[in-house]
Structures are given as C-alpha cells and as structure tokens.
C-alpha cells in the first residue's frame, strides 16, 4: 500500500471531519479497554506473567539466529520448507512462485499483517491470482477496497450500515430484498459467500502469531475458525511471518498466549488456537500437501543491538492502540500505513523510514497509557522519544521547533536574562487579556489559540514577586 504517513496532519484533518468514523470509533472506548480490564482483574499473576514474557522474548532475540535455524530444521524434518526472505519483494516473489507452480487461480487468506506489510494482495492480483480474505473484518475491507485501520479489528472504522451497503453491492447474485439488518444476517451471508472459496482455493495463506523453534510449529489465534479452513482445505499452506515471531518452546508460547487474548479483546483465550507443524502425514485424514513458511526480515534484524530492538517483542495484541487517546481520536488510517497507534509509531518509521513517517512518533502526548497496558513491557514513549532524537540529530525536525528550542536553551541557561524576558512576557500576556482573563488570538501561538483560549498570566512572574517579598502579596492570600 502507498504510504501517506508523511501527510499525517492532513489525514488527521480528514479523519476528524468524518462523522461516520467518529461514530465507529466511539464504540471502541467501551469495548476493548473495558473487557481487558475485567480479564486482567481475574488474573492476579498478570504482571508477573508480563515480566516472564518480556524475558522470554529478550532471550529469544539475543539468540535469534539459533532459534530460527532450529525452527527451520524442525520444519524440514516435518516435511515442510522455510523460505528466508530479506525484503518484501523476496517474500512476494516466493509466494507467487508457489502459487504459480500449483496453477493457483485463487488463494484464501487468514488475517495477516505481514501480508499487508508486503502488499501481497495487490501483487497476486497483478499476476491474475485472486486473493480472498476470510477473516470477516478483512473480507469487509477487501470489498470496500481499503486497508485495515486496526491490527486485530481491521474494519473497526466501518459502521454496520456501511457493511450492509458493501454486501449489497458485492453479492449481486443474492436477492436484492434480503434482510441484512441483524449482525447475524451479515455473518451468515459472509459465511455462505466464503464457503465455496475455501474448497476452490489452491493455496491457503495465513499469518502466524508464533513460530515455535522446538517443534517447527506455526500458531494462529482466531475467533472465527476461518484460519483453520484456509490452511487445511487448500493444496498448500503458506505461512507468512516476520522473524521475531519465534519463541523457543511450546511452554514459552503458552505463557505469552495467556497475555495475548486478555490484552487484545479481553478474552481469556481466543476461540481458536491452531497449531500447524507441517503438511498432511500419511495417517492424517486431511490437511495440505505442502507446508511453507515464508520468513520475512524486512529490516528487523538491523534493529538487534539498537535501542529499537524492544519493539521486536510486540505480539500485535493492539492494547496500545485500543487505549491510545490519539488513535481513539483519529483512527488507524490517519497513520498512513499498515501499523497504526503507538506500536505503529515505532514500527512504521522503522520499516518505511523516518523521513516518510516522522510525524508518527511526534504525534503523542507521552501520556504513557500504551506502556502501562503493553503486555510485553515495551517502553513505547521512550522509543518514540528516541525517534524524535534521531530526527533532531539529522536536522529533519521542523525548523520552527529547532529555533524555539535553541532560544529557550539560550534563555534558560542565563537566569538574569531569563527573569527579565519572562517578566516582560508575563506582563504582556496579562495586558493582552484586557481584563477578560484570556487571550483569544496570539501571533506565533496559533497552534494554541486556534482551538482554545490562552489564560492570561497573573501579571508578574513568581521570581520577581519572590525576590521582592519572599511571599505572595498579603492581599492575595487568605
């Protein structure tokens, strides 16, 4: 997908002016965060689990090459194949070759953010292969021809009415006057439409929530069971995963699984947790004949040994965006690429460059809520600050900000001058209020006064009053 992260302020402007989006986003507030809080209140060891999970991932990342090679050995021993792909193009090409070798006309797809990252659907379509999204949310946005706006609820920006509209437009073979007002009508219709696709597809592509080194297993969690049909009914099962999905053992995976659904939807466990460890064996009644794991790097290994390595612990639960007041205001599309919210504010500049995505780590108040809820204890604000530092060092942060900071430093390291200047400013702002208590418009402070008034000062600075009297003027205290 074409990134629009560089025009984040314009995207924000559009998003905030969209009443349908406002309506859709307002529902999120009472959903995921509330359910998460309830799930966690029932698990006293939640915080201890977070520490363990963090340590598991840190250990794995320190020995990433070892565990990935171990994973490959196991996959091969199980009769599957691992494809090491450095770039998105390598991964797209690899998947296309598998599809072409099997003469695939259509492929079914479980939900995969990595598939979005490498823009797989567009690529397959360009080569006359029809990708069919089987996750309900992904199916909806595929019909609407738009990217996901959330990493676990891709269609969270879409209202029910918009889904009805999309279904009526796409499913023209069904009676035009059929009722679709109940959510159940919509899920039933999607199910009907998708059923045959599973049987027709030659290749089933899924993502992976985990890759387990000791067994060569890839694991997905879903709530719809669509992933299971995708991967068992096609001739070949292709798993597309980024390399940091690896964990050493089944037990490590089980530990992190206890955090995942609780942090994501507030469920104790997702409805389906599906483990795949290779193609169909002789004694199996069904399953794919081929099993491929396409392992994508796309710059991630460059993060090892840098301060940004911590983002590689991310398990894509979405807790950070579900709780983020900025995400809650603007939705996922405003971020302009695949990954929105706080984790996207780190991952997007990492993957498409800070020149493209410089706004994202800046568009945060550092309220700290994302770090508070992150099950993997990723210090998201600290990483955003690290990106701001890079931008400053490379001189790509806005000129006005740089000059402002330079001036501020100059003054703040010269207390006498600082006192004189702030004294004048305090007096000026007080006078500008004309007794009204606020300034409604102020040159050079348009960012402030465009949306709110500026309360006036009390006329003099603390330092000047304190120097004079060491206490507040007697008339002013009780």
């Amino acid at each position: 997908m074409r990134a629009t992260s560089h025009q984040f302020p314009e995207n924000v402007h559009e998003a905030l002016a969209n009443p349908t989006l406002r309506q859709a986003l307002s529902k999120m507030r009472g959903g995921f965060p509330v359910n998460r809080a309830q799930a966690i209140s029932r698990l006293p060891e939640f915080d201890a689990l977070r520490d363990t999970a963090r340590d598991i991932k840190n250990h794995t990342l320190e020995h990433l090459d070892f565990y990935l090679e171990r994973f490959e050995e196991r996959v091969v021993a199980n009769g599957g194949q691992v494809h090491w792909c450095e770039t998105p193009q390598d991964a797209r090409q690899t998947i296309l070759e598998i599809c072409q070798r099997l003469n695939a006309r259509s492929v079914t797809k479980g939900k995969s953010m990595i598939a979005e990252e490498i823009a797989l659907n567009d690529y397959l379509e360009e080569h006359d292969i029809r990708p069919v999204e089987t996750d309900l949310g992904e199916y909806i946005i595929q019909l609407r021809k738009e990217p996901p706006s959330h990493i676990i609820a891709p269609a969270i920006h879409v209202t029910k009415d918009q889904v009805i509209e999309a279904f009526r437009e796409a499913h023209t073979e069904l009676p035009a006057d059929r009722p679709l007002d109940e959510p159940r009508d919509l899920t039933d219709e999607a199910r009907t439409m998708l059923r045959q696709e599973y049987f027709d597809a030659d290749v089933g592509i899924t993502g992976a929530n985990f890759l387990v080194a000791e067994t060569g297993t890839s694991t997905i969690v879903t709530n719809e069971g669509n992933g299971d049909l995708t991967q068992t009914l096609a001739k070949a099962h292709v798993v597309i995963a980024s390399l940091e999905k690896i964990v050493p053992t089944m037990e490590d995976m089980a530990t992190i699984l206890r955090l995942l659904a609780r942090s994501a939807t507030g469920q104790e466990f997702s409805v389906y947790t599906t483990l795949s460890s290779g193609p169909k064996r002789k004694e199996d009644l069904d399953g794919p004949e081929e099993y491929h794991v396409v392992l994508l790097d796309n710059g991630r290994s460059d993060l090892l040994g840098t301060e940004f390595r911590e983002i590689l612990r991310c398990i894509r639960c979405s807790a950070c965006m579900n709780h983020c007041p900025v995400y809650g205001a603007v939705g996922g599309h405003a971020y302009g690429w695949v990954y929105p919210g706080p984790m996207g504010a780190i991952l997007t500049p990492t993957l498409i460059g800070i020149d493209q995505a410089g706004h994202l780590p800046n568009a945060s108040t550092f309220c700290g809520k994302c770090e508070e809820v992150c099950p993997m204890r990723i210090p998201l604000p600290q990483l955003m600050r690290a990106y701001r530092t890079r931008e400053h060092e490379r001189g790509i942060s806005p000129k006005a900000t740089r000059w402002g900071l330079r001036l501020w430093r100059f003054l703040a390291t010269r207390p006498r001058l600082y006192g004189a200047v702030t004294g004048l400013v305090a007096r000026a702002i007080a006078n500008l209020g004309w007794g009204q208590g606020v300034v409604t418009s102020l040159p050079l402070a348009g960012g402030w006064t465009s949306v709110r008034d500026l309360p006036v000062t009390q006329g003099r600075t603390f330092r000047s009053l304190y120097k004079q009297t060491k206490s507040y003027p007697a008339s002013s205290t009780k």
Partner: protein, 264 residues
Amino acid sequence: MRETGSHPQPTVGLFVTCLADLFRPSVGFAAIKLLEAAGCVVEAPEAQTCCGQPGYNSGDTESARALARRTIEIFEGYDHVVAPSGSCAGMLKEHYPHLFSDEPEMARRAETLAGRTHELTSFLVDVLGVKAVSAQFEGQVTYHDSCSGLRELGIKEQPRELLGSVEGLELVEMEDSEVCCGFGGTFCIKYPEISDHMVTDKVTRAGESGAGMVLAGDLGCLLNIAGKLKRQGSPVQVRHVAEVLAGMVDEPAIGEPGFGEAEV
C-alpha cells in the same frame, strides 16, 4: 546552599516550574504555604529556570542535558526538592539519570537528586505523612489525573486524600479522569486538531461530573483545560490543586476575568 541535615526542620528547595513562574505565581506561593505549614524550611533558588523537558521530549538531548546539569547543581544542597507538578518532578526523578548514562559522575548526582525529588501532594502525604490541611472551600470539585504524575510517580490518592480534608469541599469524580487532556507539551501546538479533540472530551467529562471546578496538579493540563472551557464559554472554573489546599482562592481562577492590571 544549605548543608544537608544541619537543620532540625527539613529544608525544601522549591522547583517552581517555568509555567507556574510565568503564568501563575500563586501556585508557587501556595506550595510554599503548604510546605511551611507542614514544618519545612522552604527556599526557591533564584537561579532555577526550566527542567529541560521541552528539549528532552523534542529530541534535543543536548539542551535537555544543559538544563538538567544546572538544575542538578542548583538543587544539590536541599534535603528535598519539591515541584507543584508531576510532569517536572517526573523529569527530575525518572529521566535525569538517563540523560547522563555516559557520564558516571553526573549520573550519580542525577540519581541522588532523583531520590530527593517529589511532586507536592506526594511529598506532603507520602514523605511528611500529612493527613489534612486547614483550608475551606465551598462547593464540588473534580480532579483530573495528569499523566506523568499518575503513571510515572503513582500520584492518585494523595491529592484526593488532602482534598478530603478541606472543609466544605466535595470531590465528585469525572469519568475518564485518567485519560490525557491533550496538552502534551509541544504536542498541543504541533497537532492542535488532535489536541482539541482530546481536550474537548476532557471538558465534556468534567462538565458531566456536575462539579463547578476542575483541579489538577499540573499547570500545563490546567491551562489547556481552562483555555478550552473559556473558549466554550463554560462557567466551570479551573485551579491548581495547591491553591485550594492552601486556601488561596481569592485570586481569579485560571482564565477568569480580573487579571491584566495586576499590581503588587
């Protein structure tokens, strides 16, 4: 500079914060009144300016270091350093040590300062064990939990406990009191539309509480919240929690008419 521990009463260096210095000296004086009432000897060192947070959060680590260095020096002689702000106290307490990770001597001094630095209400309650203040305030107030204080320093119950002792005051909680108001330092100027959305939510929740006054412990949030309320023409008033706790509420609330001609 004072010698640590030489005085029978604890010495407190008041870090006024640049926003209180410029916009609302009464917050600084309210802090002094509260600290003195709790038995401290308070001094606001003249050379203090800004903690360096604007530079730090904008990626200008050099300017943050320059300001941190002088703040550390200025406040070295006091038993405690207290700020009427969770955000600035958090900067001194949580972030200064990281700024000097490659300067062991400065890092040590930063650590020492961090250990002695406190936000005002947390210092009164957690360090001095103050349970009540002697102040009066007639009416309902609601309290906004500022992010840094809440999440970096664990400030939640301390201001509420003290407010509970104010005669005549009734605290009514707003929904989402822990959700950010959209100030975020330079964020509110760089992304005014998002900030506007967030502060609009905040003042809506505050208004729904029915309280006639919003209190918080950070002037940045308060200027933002008051600025939005006044833009909307709301009668809800806004003050720093220290003003109410110190009983210093004769001056107009933040953004209320009356100032502009202030004379001492």
